[in-house]
């Protein structure tokens, strides 16, 4: 049938598979590096905002708000096309990593701050009353509880970063989407795009499921 031949063409898919898998590799490394950098940046930002010098806290809030407000695509285009005018020339991969991590750090910082602030004051007081050191209070009592609160929204954030890697195709990065559009042009058939969609879903569906499972798991533990 025509429809099958157009969208689910086995031969075209088979031929484009090497390209698609290369694209998937690029997407994965871009996503994972951005997620890790975003987490590290987010933890530093959250701790600075909560416990850093009060005089500077406005600065962190400004960063966090700014980078949550700007569309990633706009930021990416600025990093790739505007920064060269001031002499900063980044490769497509570096541009995409920069844009994604900057934004992810802002979201991670908010999630972590909310997690730490959700720990009741009584937990801090009980730790202090026992004479625990600051590091023991954070390491034994506060952060382990915050992690439980933070894991579901943090996983959602990771899913978003993974999805947003597709924007990198705009700056000519050979990620999964870019490879699929190229393969489509070569074969004059949209099957590679369907293949790419399937790969995105295969990659992200388990993570989406995991958010729900984790939420239920931690909800049960808390009572």
């Amino acid at each position: 049938m025509d429809l099958i031949d157009t969208f689910f063409n086995g031969r075209v898919l088979w031929d484009s598979l090497p390209l698609l898998l290369m694209g998937l590799g690029t997407t994965l490394s871009l996503g994972i590096i951005s997620i890790v950098l975003g987490l590290i940046g987010g933890l530093i930002l959250a701790l600075l905002r909560l416990y850093g010098p009060p005089a500077l806290s406005g600065l962190w809030v400004l960063y966090i708000d700014l980078f949550r407000a700007i569309p990633i695509l706009v930021l990416l285009v600025i990093v790739y096309y505007a920064l060269p005018f001031v002499g900063i020339r980044l490769s497509p991969f570096a541009s995409a990593t920069t844009a994604l991590s900057l934004v992810s750090a802002a979201y991670s910082a908010e999630i972590l701050r909310a997690g730490i602030q959700a720990i009741p004051r009584g937990q801090f007081e009980a730790s202090q009353a026992l004479g625990l050191s600051y590091w023991s209070m954070m390491g034994d009592i506060v952060l382990p509880q915050a992690v439980r609160i933070v894991v579901p929204p943090m996983t959602s954030n990771c899913i978003n970063v993974m999805k947003d890697t597709a924007l990198a195709s705009v700056v000519a990065m050979p990620d999964l989407l870019k490879q699929a559009t190229q393969a489509q042009a070569l074969a004059a058939n949209p099957t590679p795009l369907i293949g790419a969609a399937a790969l995105y879903i295969l990659l992200l569906l388990p993570m989406v499921r995991a958010v729900g499972t984790l939420e239920k798991h931690f909800a049960r533990e808390r009572r």
């Binding site: 009584g122 937990q123 007081e125 009980a126 026992l130 004479g131 625990l132 382990p144 808390r222």
Partner: protein, 262 residues
């Protein structure tokens, strides 16, 4: 900070007989905005003494005992525990480890087993070996009658059981002083007794106790001294028999009427 001994004609300073004061508070003042939470408290507590603080809500009882381990900061005055000033700095954790506290809302660590709740601070602060700390934790859980719950998480226990774990957790540090901040106020009525029983048996061991409570029966049975507070001041203090049968101050009489006649 000024030491102000002659506040209100010396009222507020008890003279506990021979024993030296293990807690010594002078001229303690605290404001919440324009509300005066503590207006110049002087108080000595002797080693081994059981002091019960009574008074209407908002009278400053909880604030006062929370100043003793500096969970609450204050505007002026001094607090000394075992002759060491309680103030921010490197010594604070050491002083706090000598002062156990039991909270109204238990504040157990929900992500740890009951046994771990009790054993953690001795491991971290006293540097006890985990095995030794857990053995001692087990002994203490036995003492408060919940050894069989050692492997459970706090959320699986009743309120009364949780509060007994909290008492065991405080005892694990072998503190010189135990502070109780309304320990039975968050409990269902049928669980109040089991917690008060544990506290009463503790009082007999000779540990110094400061108890903020609304349990008049406990105050009468267990206290060496009752302190009645109102509006951030110590209004009256006496032995429990005297206080309950013949309160001197009008405000104390009115309070007792209100709480005992229902």
């Amino acid at each position: 900070m000024q030491i102000d001994d002659v506040q209100a004609g010396g009222r507020g300073i008890a003279a506990p007989s021979a024993a030296r004061p293990i807690i010594s508070i002078r001229g303690l003042r605290k404001m919440y905005g324009s509300f005066c939470a503590l207006s110049g408290i002087d108080l000595d507590v002797a080693e081994g003494e059981v002091v019960v603080l009574l008074g209407p809500s908002g009278s400053g009882k909880s604030t006062l005992i929370r100043c003793i381990n500096l969970l609450e900061t204050y505007d002026s005055g001094t607090v000394r525990v075992d002759d060491v000033a309680v103030q921010p700095g490197p010594n604070l954790a050491a002083v706090r480890s000598e002062v156990g506290m039991v909270f109204q809302s238990f504040n157990l660590f929900p992500h740890m087993t009951v046994l771990r709740n009790v054993a953690l601070a001795p491991i971290r602060v006293r540097k006890l070996a985990p095995k030794a700390a857990e053995d001692r934790a087990m002994d203490l859980l036995n003492r408060v009658g919940i050894a069989e719950q050692a492997g459970k998480f706090p959320g699986q226990l009743s309120g009364g059981q949780q509060q007994r774990v909290a008492i065991a957790r405080a005892l694990a540090m072998e503190p010189k002083i135990l502070l109780f901040d309304e320990p039975t106020s968050a409990l269902d009525p049928e669980m109040v007794g089991e917690v008060l029983d544990v506290m009463q048996s503790l009082a007999r061991t000779g540990v110094t106790m400061l108890v903020v409570t609304h349990e008049m029966g406990f105050a009468r049975r267990v206290a060496d001294r009752v302190i009645f507070m109102e509006r951030g001041q110590i209004v009256e203090e006496a032995e429990p028999e005297t206080f309950f049968s013949a309160p001197k101050e009008e405000r104390a009489r009115a309070f007792l009427q209100a709480v005992l006649n229902h």
